[in-house]
Symmetry: C2
Subunit: 198 residues, 2 copies
């Protein structure tokens, strides 16, 4: 990795952290220059505008998510083992940054701000929901999940469970949050499984 | 209502709408002065600081929520009818403002910003989750819901379903969002009911 690339990566890491704390809209070249003790002109050489900085912050987080969540899940054996990996890796992802999940925070922040940043975020969320649905579909195909299960509905319910957990943990600082989401996941598995798999 | 109170209410209505669009942190006296064509000094007479403006915006939304959601739910007969009212009124609330649910947006925005605004929001969310749990508990008591149902867990799962719907509707503009959340709700009811109620 060249020095320029390394600098750029460390700027984007800080931008992502900042976004989970004060929102992606608060991530500006001026604010990052202060936080990282870099010159604004130096930052402008990396990112020509606030929008480009925001877009690249999203791409940086996407790459982290692929490396830490998606790849390990898709390396797990199909069926139930992959569903378990989905839950475990996603839980680990949420705690990999102090401000919680970058994508959950940005999704609720940007949903009413038309533009390329919002569009990119929406595409990534659609992609992720499709991936979850495919994981459920693979569990159906292998006979682990009931044949009448709706994989798309399952994906949205799984996502809802994670969003509820995010709120309990990040906003409410509820000490029971982790135990509760674990129980919700167990219940979801129990009602998704075929009699043979259970 | 005095003229001063009416002005104050219309300022707070605009502030709430703005918060769902650009975030509560973006709601400033300067921005509202421009949007409403009022003088900044006039606005300062109503709200002495940005924090007070934010706090009162929350109280205004809380009152709307009590009037439009909580009171009608608690007027419904207990048990299943009240659970149905919970879903119907909450769904109607989400569409009562173009930017979607004020509280969902603010909760994800402010979860990492310590201070009285975040604390108030967290208290209101805890209160609402307790209300939902009490509604489930009343359905258990009346024999509509299974006796082994965990009302607290049910409340968090219900909330997760609504958050997932919020994302599908607001960020993804998914035309299937309403049908999907209706099916999730039907499924939740089906697995919560006693054999006698079903």
């Amino acid at each position: 990795m060249s020095k320029g690339t390394a600098t750029r990566q460390s700027i984007l890491a800080q931008a992502g952290l900042l976004a989970t704390q004060i929102g992606l809209e608060g991530v500006t070249i001026g604010r990052l220059a202060v936080d990282l003790a870099l010159s604004k002109s130096g930052l402008f050489a990396h990112f020509r505008s606030k929008e480009e900085l925001q877009m690249q912050t999203i791409e940086y987080q996407r790459q982290r998510f692929v490396d830490q969540v998606v790849q390990p899940i898709l390396s797990a054996p199909g069926g139930l083992a992959r569903v378990q990996a989905l839950f475990d890796r996603w839980m680990a992802w949420r705690t990999s940054q102090p401000g919680g999940c970058f994508f959950a925070a940005a999704s609720f922040e940007l949903d009413d701000r038309p533009g390329p940043v919002r569009d990119r975020l929406a595409d990534l969320q659609r992609e992720w929901l499709s991936t979850i649905a495919r994981i459920a579909a693979s569990a159906i195909k292998r006979g682990d999940f009931r044949a009448d299960l709706d994989a798309d509905l399952w994906a949205h319910e799984f996502y809802g469970m994670m969003l509820s957990y995010h709120m309990a943990e990040q906003l409410l600082r509820d000490p029971a949050a982790t135990t509760r989401v674990q129980r919700s996941f167990d219940n979801l598995l129990a009602r998704s499984r075929t009699a043979a798999a259970a």
